[in-house]
Amino acid sequence: MDMDLDEDSVTLHPMQTEKQFTPTPDYSDYGSFASTGTALVIDNGSWQCRAGWATEDKPRLVFDNQIAKFKDRKAHTSNIFVGNDVYADVLARSSAKTAFDGDVMCNPEIMESVLDYIFVKLGITADRIDHPLIMTEPVCVPHYNRNMMTELLFESYQAPSVTYGIDSLFSLYANGPDRAKDGIVMSAGHHFSHVIPVSGGKVHLEHAKRISYGGVAASEYMLKLMQMKYPTFPMKMTTAQSETLLINHTYVAHDYLQELASYEDPEIFKTKDRVIQFPFVAPVVEEKSEEELARLAAKRKEQGRRLQEQAAKARLEKLIQREQNLEQYLALKNSKATLKKAEWAEQMKAAGFKDEADLDTVIKTTDAAIKRARNKELGIEEEEKEPPTFPLVDIPDEELSEMDKKEKKKQRLLKASHDARMRAKAAKAEEMAIQEELARQDAERREREPQKWLDEVHAKRKELVDKIKAKKQLREQLSDRRSHASQLRMTAIAALASDAPPPKRRRKGQDEDTFGADDSDWMVYREIAREDDSEDEEEATQLNEYEQQLLKYDPDFLHEHTMNAYTPKNSFLHYYTNGLGPYDPAVGLELSQTYQLHLNVERIRVPEVFFQPGIVGLDQTGFVETLQDVLKRFDAQARERLVQNILVTGGMAQIPGLVERLDESIRSILPFSPDRKNYHVRRAQDCLLDGWRGAAMIGRDQERIKKISVTKQEYEEYGGHYIKEHGLGNVFQD
């Protein structure tokens, strides 16, 4: 009872076709920030951009870091939409671009539009950006790219100063400024993941590592997996959709192998399978009222009647026409007696007849046609045709005239075909009788000795199944050129093709070719023939017949025992793709089911790549091994300090179980400690916003900003790539 309930109540997770547009707010309170020197903080991530005033506790603007530049042909306008505004328009959506290549900003033109958008949204009305800027940049960003950004900020917006930092280090700072001196940040980001050690207040980027797996790669992997799993899916899935699958349905397994194995158990599988329903339009079934149906039926009937009437009328007209024709023909024939011969011949010619015989045949056929039509009108069935007679066939040629001889030839042919038809009919009837007799005998035997009968059918079925299987195997072997079967075939062909008879025979002095004397010689053609499909079909129908009989008479022989049985419960591949819901193999999937994805093993397979990049063929260390690698570069004392403060941050850190798994696995790479107090792993309070928050915390300290920022003057003196090291950003080497 419980099980039934479970099976029926499958939770469907609806899938949206596209991202919904939610407007980004506009601010008009710039007056309270103007000329205060409040720092402006921009977390410029490759996924989202977050921007706001350093004095506030969260960013005012959070939007997808992208723009759409497109021309509206109808309105003749050029448009630039930024951020989430892109989702408000179909054309914009399709022309969305980002300034980023990987996690690095490479297109300053797009970046400029994004920055414009930020400043417009914040309501900045001054003639320059008179606020110290604090921005995030990728780990070890190339100088060229930093130069592009700095140039843009100073040249286009005339900012007074800029400070760059790394988002994950800002996040570490946000999660306890007093603890930010020693620790390790593990960030699972949009494009990449990083492991960055900080020791004694100094960031050791020379020991940091980047793993080439993040949200983008994970979404793409998810998309590919789904496309492979559902090759005939009726809709085109987008990366945005696979991203929602990643965010909403994946989790990191505590013990990957154990978790994988659990998916094989249908009972556990049922609890873990997620069904994603894509929108679909069911074909419209028009519901008609009874009244309407009756009306329609009446209409149809009326139409039918009218047609019949028309047909009858046409028939009648034709009949009348024919009768008139017949009268004329008869009159013509009768007039032969009264008219002169020449005159009569004239009339015949005018009516289109060659001679009298022609006229007779036409009269005969017309008369027959009239009779047939009359009978039909009156509903009289035509009497059975008498078997045709062939009177001339048996008369010897000598007694016949030339004409009759011709006629005899014709009749002989007709007779031959008629006889052949009769013979075939008889043979068919005989065959039917034999079949019926056999079936009767079979049924009799079944009733007399049911067990024996069943055994026999089973044996016959088995023989056939073995034959089919052997054939299939042979075919498979033949598809491989190096298989034994293929080689035998090639030898046979070579032997047949060679002109020289086999040497053995020649030695015996028998030059005569005896091929074919033995019936089994002919089998060689069978061996070299690739396949014969006609036989396959016959075998399939025969097998089906046996199986139908067994299904009917053997209570132990069930549907799942048939050769091509396909039952959902015993096939992992079935429930892996179609779930464990009710399924009728004869009917197939319902329409709604063809628009469903079943997310199960993928739920752990996709995020597991963070720990085992080899799954996607990425030859890099996973999270834990990278951490081990990084730790190795510090002495034991430092190591002890570092592992006390392991912070996990970044968008992908939100995947359930990731931090727990890290916590569990890190134990295995550290010296044994019974109380597990020798290390500490935690998740950032807010994996998405803490980067911005940390930067804002720095931004509030105006004295500190003065010390670590690069001013416009310094930019002009040292170049756009110049930065001051401050422990939360990149290191500098000229």
Partner: protein
């Protein structure tokens, strides 16, 4: 300078005209940007690969972390093998297609797959044969 263009940047004011963007959207192509210094055109776009090739040409101390040398190293631990079709633990490898598989049932399904699909499955773990 700013006073000459008084149109508010928000869409609410010009929401009446035909070619206005949807409500709540700013068309940045026609928005007043008083904070910008005119005359600056941003640098040309280069893709990351080009930039890194350029940067690599400069002289770097070996101890300096760079974008290209902080990449994680190849793993030294033995790799577990997983079924290319289902993702379950793979105990076997099909010698013909090189696909890893979990059970006989999956092996049966592999045998009926066309070569293109096999390559796509191999491609999931970057093991497809790439013809150049």
């Amino acid at each position: 300078m700013a006073s000459s263009m008084t149109a508010s940047p928000t869409s609410s004011s010009n929401g009446q005209t035909d070619n206005s963007p949807p409500i709540g959207v700013i068309n940045m192509a026609h928005t007043n940007k008083p904070f910008k210094k005119p005359g600056y055109t941003p640098k040309k776009t280069r893709n990351l690969k080009q930039i890194i090739t350029l940067e690599k040409a400069k002289e770097w101390k070996t101890s300096t972390p760079t974008y290209w040398n902080i990449e994680a190293l190849p793993s030294m631990t033995p790799q577990k093998k997983y079924c290319d079709i289902t993702g379950l633990e793979a105990k076997y490898t099909d010698p013909k297609t090189r696909l890893r598989y979990h059970s006989t049932e999956i092996y049966q399904s592999i045998k009926s797959q066309p070569i293109g699909v096999v390559q796509q499955f191999l491609g999931l773990r970057n093991a497809a044969v790439v013809l150049k």
